[in-house]
């Protein structure tokens, strides 16, 4: 399902096809036979193995923020580690920047990790015996960059992440949010093409988490890196992700934009996930517009189809006439106050969702 959406597969930074990771004894043999399709409990019972990633395929476009979201144990952390072979995948193909990661030599793999892909970790992974500046410069240091050069670069990044004045502190003197800024800075310092985030903010307080999310969005605007972001927090996923892959038991159950997930969940699992999301905050007018009734006047305000429902409220209150929803010059349908109010009522978790979806 992923392939048809990202049609620009030639330009993808990361291409993953048929990726498997099975932990346990004789994992190759499990993969070779039909055992691999058993459900997790049965697989564990029969072979002692755990399939953490099952036949996952997706592509990430340059400059995109791609979010992988799922509950704990769904395999998302394993998946992101497989991308640079921090965990060795059992089967499948991974290409980063067109290069086949799976067959890369250890030296080549190190080059990839040093220059193209860097990672931010949930528990920061800072080195407590080094000052902040040395932590940030660590990646440059192991590349063999001279001290003066790497400090100059590290100071730039320090400013970029807003940690000026903390260069000589030790990690244990910083708060959690500041520590993760250091982790972010360390990953940024090597000027990678792709940044991987493994639940970077889940160990932080809610307020600080919001700041850090804003920070990542700002950095994404400023430096324009391709980002793969792992999270178990749906609101974080919806806020950051241009496209979101929802994982369950090692497989991707749905991949799409926030709108698509909320508007058209493929199964009950995804529907259950997105049930509490305020639909009017995510869905656009396209999802609720309908064909005009014969007696309706078609001279109301005109709004684009991809406008978020919530943003259409001022226009609908200003005019009693139905809003005309257009895509370019073409009329897609109309939306009146009742439609908007209905959409907003369902925000409260009312089960009246599926009927409207049909109209989409």
């Amino acid at each position: 399902m992923a392939a048809e959406r990202s049609s620009a597969s030639d330009g993808a930074v990361i291409e993953v096809a048929g990726l498997w990771k099975i932990f346990g004894p004789r994992s190759e043999r499990v993969l070779a036979c039909s055992d691999k399709d058993l459900d997790p409990a049965a697989l564990r019972e029969k072979t002692g193995c755990t399939a953490a990633v099952r036949n996952v395929s997706f592509q990430v476009r340059p400059g995109e923020v791609f979010v992988v979201m799922g509950l704990s144990g769904s395999g998302k952390s394993t998946l992101v580690r497989c991308l640079t072979r921090l965990i060795e995948p059992t089967a499948g193909e991974i290409r980063i920047g067109g290069e086949d990661v799976g067959s890369a030599s250890p030296a080549r793999l190190r080059e990839l990790r040093r220059h193209q892909v860097s990672m931010v970790f949930q528990h920061f992974g800072l080195l407590p015996h080094r000052r902040v500046i040395d932590n940030i410069a660590y990646g440059l240091e192991i590349q063999g960059m001279a001290r003066a050069d790497r400090y100059r670069r590290a100071r730039e990044i320090l400013t970029l992440v807003g940690l000026d004045g903390h260069a000589d502190s030790y990690p244990d003197q910083l708060s959690g949010g500041m520590r993760q800024r250091v982790g972010l800075a360390r990953a940024l310092a090597v000027d990678p093409q792709v940044m991987l985030f493994d639940e970077p903010f889940s160990a932080l307080d809610p307020l600080i988490r919001r700041d850090m999310q804003a920070e990542v969005m700002r950095l994404h605007r400023e430096v324009g890196k391709t980002m793969v972001f792992i999270t178990h927090d749906l609101s974080e996923a919806l806020k950051l992700g241009e496209r979101i892959a929802i994982m369950r038991d090692g497989s991707i159950v749905q991949l799409g934009t926030a709108e698509e997930l909320v508007g058209a969940p493929v199964d009950d699992y995804v529907a259950d996930f997105v049930r509490d999301v305020p639909r009017s905050h995510v869905l656009s007018l396209r999802w609720i517009c309908r064909d005009p009734e014969s007696d309706e006047h078609l001279d109301g305000p005109v709004l684009p189809a991809d406008m978020i429902i919530r943003d259409a409220i001022p226009a609908s209150t200003a005019s009693a006439r139905p809003i005309r929803v257009v895509q370019g010059d073409e009329l897609v349908g109309v939306v009146d106050r009742v439609d908007i109010l209905t959409a907003m009522t369902s925000d409260a978790g009312a089960p009246a969702v599926h009927a409207e979806k049909a109209s989409a």
Binding site: R81, E111, H115, F124, G125, L127, G139, I142, Q143, G183
Partner: protein, 631 residues
């Protein structure tokens, strides 16, 4: 354990017996067997047993072939020459500094390690060696320790790093370390003599081998403890394994590795005394001589010197571990201290001045005599009651029972407590002791160990429970336990010897003081480790504090208590064997006499092996207990 007896998951159809019933059954069967077969199938001791003679012959052959056998010619002789060379070099070097020079250098190292306090401690400690009249012996001991510790670190730290980084190596090396650690110190010595002859070289190697497991284990632990995220972060940035090791793992493991060095030094210190039995020079020889003559006044200064050296080296290494970086001031201060010492060395007489020395052998012996006489009633009563009520009957039982009955009992108990495989191992050890011709002495030692362990566990449990229940008691007890654990094992023989003279009970007394601290500490930690929510829940249902202890805390601390028992047994065994020096008899005495008389070498050697077997047997009987599913 008075925890409610949990029915073992018995196969269907059988009667469900409480666990202790099995034990009672074994006891009943043993008694019946004993009454029926008493006096038959005993294995009385024979000084000329075949294994002893075989070892004697082997020694003759090895001594004769020392310069022909390729193994010796190309490997062992070189090792011996190298170790001896290293020791000589250190000895010459340390002596050449002169006493003011060495004191200055130690002060300087102390300053670098932890500022002026540690510098003062180090300098004062070394001055006290001179004051005690033991300057030369102390320098020799220091040289031996430094040689052994250097070698242990050179071998142990890389091995530890390797072990910590690889699960496969860990699986391979752990059983070896286990065996090395339950070997009583004595057992190392005889093979050393066989290969490296008597003298500093074999003493260094024995000390090295004794200390090595600790070095490897703690270093491996240090590497394992490094946060996996930090390692992963380093790998994710493209670091090579070497870079990660050098820049992440080693710096982050630094404090624990310093602890490994500290513990290595402590182990070396306690071994250095025992190594005096194979002519290691230094303080140990004074102690051994004093022990064998039961002369407390003679050995006390040497004992005090060892303790002081232990404290100085312990505080220095611990301070060094905590320090992040030394500033310029401490370098200057340290340099000046060292230079001052060296300059004084050129001026002051080469020998520590006579008039600064204090001799207290006389007063100490007087005090000991006084104590013996004035407390005669008490000490004799303790000694006699324990001998009559516990030691003699138990020893009589074990030595007059048929060997197969004892072996069957051991098998049954080990099976009951630990399972089939440990039981078979325990049985194998016991049979091997019989085959070595050391049954009777082995049973004597076993008696002493059992009594000492019973006392150790009783006292340790009481102290541990008291400490866990009262913060104030714990606060008083903790520093005492800390101090007790830094002291070399031998030191404990001193007060025991002063109070009880050279008897079997001396060894028991010493081993109880030696083994109680870790037992008490493990018990306390186990009880304190019970989650507060569980305690709160128990209190909220209205438990009295006694009910809380018996029904919640002790059952939940079961693992820690069993571990304490295991530790207590291993430590007690080590000490009881050492007690052979002060009249404990049994295997320990055989080992000692093996070093003293060439004709007894074979017996000493086999007795050393037998102590190891005894240790493994006791370990297997107890260790399985904590692997049983918790109630």
């Amino acid at each position: 354990m008075s925890a409610p007896a949990v029915p073992v998951t018995a196969p269907q159809g059988t009667l469900r017996l409480p666990r202790w019933a099995v034990l009672a059954g074994i006891a009943v069967l043993f008694t019946v067997g004993y009454l029926l077969y008493r006096g038959t199938g005993t294995l009385p001791h024979d000084d000329e047993a075949a294994p002893f003679l075989f070892i004697n012959d082997a020694r003759e052959t090895i001594d004769a072939g020392r310069n022909e056998n390729p193994l010796f010619l190309y490997l062992i002789n070189y090792l011996r020459l190298f170790t001896a060379g290293l020791y000589d070099l250190l000895e010459v070097g340390l002596t050449a500094l002169g006493w003011p020079g060495l004191i200055g250098v130690m002060g300087a190292l102390g300053w670098l390690a932890g500022g002026w306090r540690i510098a003062l401690l180090a300098a004062a400690g070394f001055v006290s060696f001179g004051v005690l009249g033991l300057w030369e012996a102390s320098v020799l001991t220091l040289a031996l320790i430094v040689a052994a510790v250097l070698l242990a670190l050179v071998v142990g730290i890389p091995l530890g790093i390797w072990t910590g980084g690889s699960a496969r190596v860990r699986r391979l090396i752990t059983p070896v370390l286990d065996v090395m650690q339950i070997m009583p110190t004595f057992a190392y010595l005889a093979p050393m003599v066989l290969f490296f002859q008597i003298g500093p070289a074999s003493a260094t190697v024995a000390t090295l081998i004794y200390a090595l497991p600790v070095t490897i284990r703690i270093t491996a632990l240090a590497i394992e403890q490094v946060s996996p995220t930090a390692i992963e972060a380093s790998a994710s940035l493209g670091a090579t394994r070497r870079q990660t090791l050098r820049k992440v793992q080693l710096p982050m493991a630094r404090e624990t590795i310093a602890l490994a060095i500290n513990q290595t030094i402590m182990m070396a210190l306690s071994m250095v005394v025992i190594a005096a039995l194979i002519s290691a020079p230094g303080l140990g020889s004074d102690i051994v001589r004093g022990l064998s003559r039961a002369n407390v006044g003679f050995m006390l200064p040497a004992g005090v010197a060892i303790v002081i050296m232990a404290i100085v080296l312990d505080r220095m290494t611990m301070a060094a571990a905590r320090r992040r970086v030394s500033d310029r001031v401490s370098y200057v201060a340290a340099g000046m201290l060292a230079l001052a010492g060296l300059a004084l060395a050129a001026v002051l007489p080469a020998e520590f001045p006579e008039e600064w020395r204090i001799s207290f052998a006389g007063p100490v012996n007087d005090a000991v005599t006084w104590a013996k006489f004035s407390w005669y009633d008490v000490t004799t009563a303790i000694k006699n009651i324990s001998s009559e009520a516990l030691l003699n009957p138990l020893q009589g039982l074990l030595t007059s029972a048929p060997w197969w009955l004892v072996a069957a009992a051991v098998l049954a108990v080990a099976w009951w407590s630990s399972g089939v495989r440990p039981a078979l191992t325990a049985l194998g050890c016991l049979v091997a002791i019989a085959l070595l011709g050391l049954w009777e002495h082995g049973m004597e030692t076993l008696t002493t160990v059992l009594v000492a362990v019973a006392l150790t566990l009783l006292i340790g449990l009481l102290l541990g429970i008291a400490a866990a229940r009262s913060l104030r008691f714990s606060a008083v007890q903790r520093p005492l336990l800390d101090a007790a654990q830094t002291m070399p094992a031998f030191v404990y023989l001193l007060p025991a010897l002063a109070l009880f003279g050279a008897t079997r009970f001396t060894a028991i007394f010493a081993s109880v003081i030696y083994a109680v601290p870790p037992v008490a500490r493990l018990v306390e930690e186990g009880i304190r480790g019970v989650p507060p929510t569980v305690v709160e829940a128990a209190v909220s249902t209205g438990s009295t504090s006694g009910q809380l202890l018996w029904k919640v805390q002790l059952p939940m601390a079961r693992r820690a208590i069993l571990l304490a028992a295991n530790q207590g047994i291993v430590m007690t065994l080590a000490m009881v064997v050492v007690g052979g020096l002060v009249g404990a008899g049994g295997l320990g005495y055989d080992v000692v006499s093996g070093f003293v008389q060439r004709t007894d070498f074979g017996m000493g050697f086999t007795a050393g092996v037998a102590t190891v077997l005894l240790g493994i047997m006791l370990d297997r009987i107890t260790q399985g207990a904590d692997r049983r599913p918790s109630p």
